[in-house]
Structures are given as C-alpha cells and as structure tokens.
C-alpha cells in the first residue's frame, strides 16, 4: 500500500521545543451555511494527541441566516474580490477578522490530558474548474486550507499555564450539492510556559520607559 511506503521513509526530526511540541491530525465536519459555524471533529491517530476533540468556530455576527442570502454574502465578502485568473483561475477566502476561536481537548488520562483554547486564522482556496471566473456547480466542492494558530493561557490539566503558537494545513471536501464539508488537517503547536505573566507586564513597562 502506497501510504505504508510513505510511513517507512518519513523521517522528519523534532528538535528542541521550548516547552513542548504538540501535533495532531484533525478530521471533522462543519457548514458555513449553518449558524453558528462550528467545525468540529476528532483526532486521527497517530499523533501527540490521539483521542480527543477539536473545534474551530467561524464568527458570523451580522451574516444573513437565510441560506441563499447567506451564501451570497459569504461569496461577496470573502471570495469574489479575491479571484486570480489563470489556467485555471482560483478564489482565495481569508477568514481572519475577527480571529476564529479554537478549542482542543486531549482525552489522554491524567496527567497527560487536558484542554487548550485559542484562536486561528483560516485561508481557503479552490479552483475555478470552468475557467470562466464564475462560480459553477463543481467549484468549491474541494480545495485546500491552512492557517496560523495562537494558544492562549487558559488551558487545563497538562496544558495548565501554557500558551503558544502554531500552524496547520489540510484540505476540505464538500458534500456537493449540500453545503456541509469535511476537513482534514495536521496542526502543529509550540507551547510555552506562560504561568508568570508578571514578567511580561514588567518587561513591557520597562520598554515603555525607553520609548
């Protein structure tokens, strides 16, 4: 099996994480036409987190809730203005203002498990398969996604006192003509000890004196 061949030769090395490096693979579903927009799923082992839950919520304050109007709003706001002609052309949607809340739950038994939360940016691209610059039935049924991640200091369990940042990349497949879609991605996080916020505050104050 081809995948197993890849397994055998995959030899990327982890070196010197500051306080901890965590990676996991997420598989889940969501729907931009549903409100609230919640993409949610589980981890796909192997990975540093093998059992648990991830959730990315796309803020939709002010978006129409009626499906046709909502789809048109999303198109006009996030994609139509970001068309790049080519062979074929493609659209790129950026969902980064406001940032998207992220929740990660590691179900490993104590003392290893716990929860993290933060925010992420999301960039989605898909091809204009008809090469006309107009969305047709096949466009947007699959594509790629990636983003940047920030973990804020409100974790629990093994992640208590940690914050950090990271990234993710993956793909999506929509259940066309339905609007629900499946995401598959790998997320990579570098976690730091943020349990002493006084240091940051003090350093900021010192810098302010010299600005």
């Amino acid at each position: 099996m081809r995948v197993l061949a890849i397994v055998a030769v995959a030899a990327v090395v982890l070196t010197s994480p500051a306080f901890g490096f965590i990676s996991y693979n997420g598989v889940g579903t969501g729907d931009f036409l549903a409100s609230p927009i919640v993409f949610e799923g589980n981890m796909a082992p192997p990975g540093d987190i093998e059992t648990g839950l991830w959730r990315i919520t796309i803020p939709d304050v002010g978006w129409p809730t009626e499906p046709v109007a909502r789809e048109q709003y999303i198109w006009n706001t996030y994609y139509a203005g970001n068309y790049t002609p080519g062979t074929p052309g493609y659209w790129t949607g950026r969902f980064d203002v406001p940032l998207n809340p992220l929740y990660i739950q590691d179900d490993a038994p104590a003392p290893d498990g716990g929860t993290m939360s933060g925010v992420c940016e999301l960039e989605i691209t898909f091809s204009d398969n008809g090469e006309v610059g107009v969305l047709d039935g096949d466009d947007g049924c699959s594509g790629s996604l990636s983003g940047l991640v920030i973990i804020i200091n409100d974790g629990t369990g093994a992640y208590d006192g940690l914050c950090g940042d990271g990234n993710y990349f993956g793909s999506f497949a929509k259940d066309c003509p339905n609007s629900s879609e499946t995401w598959n991605f790998g997320m990579y996080l570098w976690l730091y000890d943020c349990s002493t916020p006084v240091e940051s505050t003090t350093w900021g104050a010192v810098k302010a004196l010299y600005q």
């Binding site: 995948v3 890849i6 995959a10 030899a11 990327v12 090395v13 982890l14 070196t15 010197s16 490096f21 990676s23 693979n25 192997p46 540093d48 970001n82 080519g86 062979t87 493609y90 790129t92 203002v97 406001p98 940032l99 933060g118 925010v119 960039e123 691209t125 091809s127 398969n129 008809g130 090469e131 006309v132 107009v134 047709d136 049924c141 699959s142 790629s144 996604l145 940047l148 991640v149 920030i150 804020i152 200091n153 409100d154 940042d165 990234n167 993710y168 990349f169 993956g170 793909s171 999506f172 497949a173 499946t182 991605f185 790998g186 990579y188 943020c194 940051s200 350093w203 900021g204 600005q211």
Partner: protein, 218 residues
C-alpha cells in the same frame, strides 16, 4: 532554528480522506533557505525523505519597490505588510500577521516544484505567504525578542495547467503548506510540510465548450 516535527504518517492518512476520487494527493516535506531581506526574494530547497514529491522547490516574492538596504528594507516590509494587520482580541493573542499574496503585491508570489531525475516533473503556479509575529509583551511594539523569535507561517498554493509537465503533466489543483521557523535574517533556514491535490486539466476543447455552456446560463 526550531524544526517542524511531523506526524507524517497520520497526515498522509488523514488528508487522503478528503481528496476527491479524481484527484491525487501528494504530501510534501521541504527544507531550504531564503530571506525577505534579500532582493530578489527567493526561498529554495529540496523535498525531504517522507515526501511524495521529490526534487527541488522554489518560492519567489515580487519585491518591486522594496528598499534594498537595511534597515530601510525591514522597516518597509514591517510597516507595509505587518503593521496594518495587528490584532489584540482576545487577550493573550496579540499579534501581527504579514500577508503576501496577489492582493497585497504587484504580482502573486510564485512557486516551482521540479524533479529533473527519474520521475521528472514540474509543478508551478501562485502561492500565498502569511507570517505570524507575536506581540508577547502586549505593547504593539516589536521588540528584538519578538522579531528574532521563530515565526509560524502558512500558505495556500495553486498549481496551474500551464506549468505541469512530466509525471504530473496536464494537471492542476490546490495545495497548502505550513511551517514554524521563519526568521528575519539574510539566510533564513525554513522547513515546511504540506500537500497538493492534483486533478486532470480539461482539454482546450472541453474547457471552451464548458465555458460556452456556462455563459448561456449566466
């Protein structure tokens, strides 16, 4: 430099689930060097063991109009691409994001993947680049520590029919990649992981016909 650790096996398995039946998904791990501070901006390197793509990779960014000397060049990059994208909400996530793409540059950044040996191929097209710089001190001021910290980055990419040859001749698609070690140095070593999903290009006749049919209904 901190390297990106990959659960390569699981990524391949997970991503393959989302690829359309007509598409072939290729997982990649790349390492190389480049710099935003050197003109022209060229990141280049090789695909690493574990990749389903082999050979070399190149990413270029159009730096037309950017200063060529320091500190003017970094200041220009910072003020043009990062400062407008400073965010503070929620607390604890304060950051700048630099966005380099077809909408923020004179021309879209380009990528080129190539194998010249056995299994020769080329894949090329447009790519984006987003770089995360944390404001750890929450003061909207870039400190030396924050500037020198390893920065996460991500991209989406679009291989085009015009640039596919050899093993992947007449294919196009989308892809994405990410990494965690961008730095503002003149010889910045980076590593990334990613994927491309490739589909067969339509023949010119098919494309023209389909375009005409769509036009009838618009």
């Amino acid at each position: 430099m901190r390297k990106l650790a990959i659960a390569a096996v699981a990524v391949v398995l997970a991503l393959a689930l989302a690829a359309p039946a007509s598409a072939q998904m290729k997982f990649m791990v790349g390492s190389g060097t480049g710099s935003l501070l050197v003109s022209p901006v060229v990141y280049s390197g090789t695909f690493q063991p574990g990749s389903q793509l082999t050979g070399d990779w190149v990413i270029t960014i159009d730096d037309t109009g950017w200063p060529t000397t320091e500190p003017e060049r970094f200041n220009y990059i910072w003020n043009t691409f990062f400062v407008p994208n400073y965010t503070t909400i929620p607390a604890g996530s304060e950051k700048w994001t630099g966005k380099f793409n077809a909408q923020t540059l004179p021309t879209a950044p380009q990528f080129w993947f190539e194998e010249t040996g056995g299994g020769a191929y080329t894949l090329g097209g447009n790519i984006t680049l987003n770089i995360l710089v944390r404001d750890f001190e929450v003061d909207e001021y870039l400190s030396g520590y924050e500037k020198d910290h390893d920065h996460n980055f991500n991209s989406t990419l679009n291989p085009s029919c015009d640039n596919s040859t050899g093993l992947y001749d007449n294919t196009y698609g989308t892809g994405s990649l990410s990494g965690g070690d961008q730095n503002f140095t003149t010889a910045d070593a980076i590593e990334f992981v990613g994927q491309v999903m490739l589909s067969p290009c339509e023949s010119p006749v098919e494309s023209t016909t389909w375009g005409s049919i769509k036009a009838l209904y618009e």
